[in-house]
Homo-oligomer: 220 residues x 2
């Protein structure tokens, strides 16, 4: 019965919305797989991220993931490679026409830029959530790619501005970045963080104001 084409064919037709057969184009298929993986990770999170799910979304057979990427690990690595261009695409290089006179000016602006960029990018949000939830080889590579890109960006934006003496800028900035990341993650997951609602634009204005106040408090 299961092998009766008279029974299965209509079902297959109903499922296969695209009756056209997949064209034989490896690079296109590779791109489709990578795109499917990124969108799947962005929309569903790392929980249901697997070979089967990616293949389903890409509309191809999972075997191709093994052939072209060597499995999920290779695919994740490809995502990480893409990630290196994240900051470049998301955050403007210039200072928006304003002169940054002090390190405090710079960090205030960068904090808000980073906050907005993270709010707008579900993929990186999921990756950050992944980073604090697991410690597998996959997430380690993603994390490394992301932190490298972030460090490069910070370095480039700093320009010739010198940080204030007597303050551990690496530690302070790490805490600021941690705060922003956790704020956005909490908001994305539950719409609030430690009693602070984070849903409406008004909520986010309050958060941004508080963040500015904190940055100004420490960097003047």
């Amino acid at each position: 019965m299961l092998n009766d084409p008279m029974v299965l064919t209509p079902v297959a037709d109903a499922i296969r919305v695209e009756p056209e057969k997949r064209i034989r184009d490896r690079s296109a298929t590779e791109k489709a797989i990578l795109k499917a993986a990124k969108s799947l990770l962005a929309e569903e999170g790392f929980q249901n991220f697997g070979v089967n799910a990616v293949a389903r979304r890409a509309g191809c057979d999972k075997q191709l993931i093994y052939r072209y990427y060597g499995g999920l690990n290779g695919l994740v690595e490809a995502i990480g490679a893409d990630l290196g261009t994240w900051v470049k695409d998301r955050i403007p290089e210039d200072t928006g026409g304003m002169f940054l006179l002090t390190y405090g000016d710079l960090m205030e602006r960068l904090s808000l830029l980073f906050l907005e960029a993270l709010r707008d990018d579900p993929l990186v949000r999921r990756i950050v959530a992944w980073e604090v939830s697991e410690n597998t080889e996959q997430v380690r590579r993603l994390s490394e790619a992301r932190s490298k890109a972030l460090a490069n960006w910070l370095d480039r934006m700093r320009g010739s501005l010198t940080p204030p003496k007597g303050v551990d800028v690496v530690a302070v900035n790490a805490i600021l970045i941690a705060a922003i990341q956790h704020l956005v993650l909490s908001a994305s997951a539950g719409g609030q963080c430690a009693g602070l609602a984070l849903k409406t634009p008004k909520d986010w204005e309050k958060a941004a104001t508080a963040l500015k106040r904190i940055v100004r408090g420490v960097y003047g």
Copy 2:
């Protein structure tokens, strides 16, 4: 073949290392299940948290989880109920003999207390990681229990100290809490956060110093 007792019996005998039968004590079994669930969640994380795993660790049949807790959801709810006593057990109520003269004194102390408490509690760490990774009914209830306990604690510790005027303390404190939580989570997962190593006690001293500086910057 599968139902042939001659084949299956020796295998079962080999697996059962403890020939002693489980004593018939419902409340003890319930406690064992709850303890197993908490330790499993703390050690393995929410990724592999399921009925089978809990039952395995508790050394009982998973059916009992359904009978006594109504499934995983009820078990998670029981964990959440336990969670209400977290702060009380973990963080000293008094101020350690020091007089807190200002709101800044208070928040500096609370920040460091919260940081240490979170560093010492793997279960709550996993729950926080869970909170920013999923938005299911399970994690929502856990999150609610935790945030309520946290709010109560903050309120109790505040005492009669009045926060400074003109600053959104809810937002600022939410950001501080977010920073601490993310810092500890990142450290626990990867041993660093945004380029700041978080492994040795010396690393943590630097982080604590930076945190104090930030709190002092915003609260004086």
